[in-house]
Amino acid sequence: MSGTEVLRLEGIVKEFPGVKALDNVTFDLRAGEVHVLLGENGAGKSTLMKVLVGVYHPEAGNIVLKGKKVRMENPRQAQNQGIAIIYQEFNLVPYLTVAQNIYLGREPKTQFGLVDQRRLKSEARRVLDFLKIDIDENAPVYTLGVAQQQLVEVAKALSLEADILVMDEPTATLSEHEIGRLFATIKTLKTHGVSIIYISHRLQEIKIIGDRVTVLRDGRTVGTQLVAETELETLIQMMVGREIVKKRMRKTNTALSGEALKVSRLNRGKVLRDINLTVRQGEIVGLAGLVGSGRTELARAVYGIDRIDSGEIEIMGKRIRHPSPQQCIRQEMGFLPENRKEDGLALILPLKDNIIQASLRKLFPSGILSLSRERDIAKRYVRDLAMAAPDVARMAKFLSGGTQQKVVLAKWLCTESKMLIFDEPTRGIDVGAKEEIHSLMNGLAAKGVGILMISSELPEILTLSDRIYVMREGAIVHELDASATTQEEIIGFAAGKRAAA
């Protein structure tokens, strides 16, 4: 692909309070190419695209579109300039038809100002046919699968006459067959000169669909390569970097006793397939994998939030017949969800109420609360976990991210759980609080608590875990000893470079 340059991002800098999300990033796009933007979670891929379409405004740097320097004020302006973005969460209206969605807000009108149904349908059909998409333009969108909805988004973007299309992790939720169809559509687009920025961290796809690839790491451009001339190993190296892995924080607890959690042959639709795992008391087990590999889904299924199709779950040696959060709490297992604000905390309740929330039955078997005891307990945790909170009556929403996470942790410490599942325990938390959370987790393991930790940060997985399970496409594909593996090896398994073992 040696098309002319249609877009150039030069020296883009974007800062958020306390973080330099993009640091002098350079990226260019040629007509009719698929340019893959590769990088780990948090490398700055999405931020860069939000700068491109005017959601964020950069502190420095230029956007050069078709040879002209432009300033993107908002997504609408970007759309008018021919740049369309397909987010991971679709923007479709479920009970309208495919045709209505494609031309939403731009309905063709008859001379009387009514919607011209015939033209609406025929134009939608034309766009779909052009893309060789076999979807009925009269079908309501809610009847379509995820893959088809995505194709409708593509058709919508194309009907806007976009010649630059950004696709953010388009295959994250698609099956093999559906991916094939999406790729066929992408190829059609290419032959018509549409340029595509393809965000992904699935290495195998890059070889199939990509022309060039640019790797981002920690907000910087690592380099741009021709896909055909680049080995996957090189890309992994570029993604991970050669930074020295921090020394492992923990010595493996040699006095491991019984199994805190045992999951056997767990299945849930296509999301979780034949999962077997164990976490022993006093052990920290890392769960690695790409976004969408099924890690959070696994945690939710084990904790009884989502229904399972089959499989056995044992907590502290006791079989849980019908997993539910109540059952798990009764068996002394706790869950710290990924979205603290949405799932982990009652934001408008005081800190103390959050801390005792899961232990009410244990603390006050009579059902009548003692407010002074409640306060004393909360104060103890505020002190023990060194929470930055003025008093225990403080509303949770006014606390910092790190302190909020400590409140969630305190909630489960308060229940005296023997088994804890952490989903992204330090996401969005500043460095200092991160270290504190890590040492608290270490301390818990030393006291014999079993911990299953989901994390997208490989250094966190490597420094904290005893053992590591790697998930891909809903299955555990490998089990690794944390002291004898590397980031490259984990990414290799997670992205499917090596055959499943």
Partner: protein, 318 residues
């Protein structure tokens, strides 16, 4: 015959039965049941009575339906029914003709709805709360205007809306059907209709597509006010007098009708003809239970249970 064609046939048969809205079954079942509980139920005069009573609810139900489809709710409709009736009656008392008096009442209703719509669109306060407040304001205003009493509206021309017939068909029913055709057209054939569904189904997607959600909400609640105003005129006409509290509670029947008819409270889904079906069911229920001679309190209990049952069965079917 191969197994394949066999299964193909069964499937089409099932989908054929599924295509019939659940409330058609409900109507038939109710008619049969009430035939046995009351000998006069299926008499022509009683059926016409149902149609006449049902017409007012049917018109209000369009308003409830529009609010629900746009992912809102309108609790002020009953208050507007009362207010519009009083406005029409007072206007005629003051010497205005039937036409201008009715126009004034419709305008009052539409304006009242527009205020709700404006607040809902601009402030993001939940429509439930906004229209709850407007319900109080409307009921109070009707009482103040009518000085707390019924205002007579005995004009023979005015009586036609609620009491007249064309052949056998009540005028009220013709007006209601007219409303249904007009609003079905608006929802299906105009961009505005698509935009109402779009805002209710996924407001963010609608806004990103360049639709003004503000404008859509303003229009929806203004329409609601207009429709409730029309219902108020018919009700006052039927009774020959405007009672300030004549509409109280009808907003809940309207919501029930829309939901029984398949509208989703999550917004963006439902058919206006379903709402009509819902209104018919509720009108039949009210009349049939009454004709069966059940005490009022028991009627309310049974009505509530049947509404919940119909919606439950419908949600299980899909």
């Amino acid at each position: 015959m191969t197994p394949e064609t066999l299964t193909g046939r069964t499937q089409t048969r099932i989908s054929f039965f599924r295509k019939i809205p659940g409330n058609i079954y409900a109507v038939v079942l109710l008619l049969v049941v009430f035939r046995f509980t009351s000998a006069e139920f299926l008499n022509l005069s009683n059926l016409l009575n149902i149609v006449q009573q049902g017409s007012i609810l049917a018109i209000v139900s369009i308003g409830s339906f529009l609010a629900i489809v746009s992912h809102g709710i309108d609790l002020s409709l009953g208050a507007i029914v009362g207010l519009a009736g009083i406005v029409a009656a007072l206007a005629m008392e003051a010497g205005l003709g039937v036409g201008p008096a009715c126009l004034l009442a419709l305008l009052a209703g539409a304006l009242f709805g527009a205020v709700s719509g404006f607040v809902i669109a601009r402030t993001y306060i939940n429509p439930f709360i906004v229209t709850l407040g407007m319900m109080g304001i409307g009921e109070g205003l009707a009482l103040v205007l009518g000085k707390g009493a019924t205002v007579s509206a005995g004009n023979p021309v005015f009586k036609i809306f609620g009491g007249g017939n064309v052949g056998l068909v009540p005028v009220a029913a013709l007006i209601a059907m007219g409303c249904y055709f007009i609003f079905s057209f608006i929802l299906k054939r105009t961009a505005l209709g698509t935009h109402i569904y779009a805002v209710g189904g996924n407001e963010e997607a609608a806004v990103l597509s360049g639709i003004s959600a503000h404008r859509v909400k303003l229009v929806v609640y203004s329409f609601n006010g207009l429709l409730a105003g029309l219902a108020g005129i018919i009700m006052a006409s039927r009774l020959g007098a405007a009672n300030p509290s004549q509409g109280i509670g009808i907003e809940f029947d309207g919501i029930a009708a829309a939901v029984v008819g398949g509208a989703s409270l999550a917004g963006g889904k439902g058919s206006i003809w379903g709402a009509l079906g819902g209104a018919v069911i509720i009108a039949i229920l009210r009349n049939g239970l009454n004709m069966a001679g059940l005490p009022m309190a028991l009627q309310m209990v049974i009505l509530g249970m049947i509404i919940v049952a119909i919606v439950t069965i419908d949600s299980l079917r899909s």
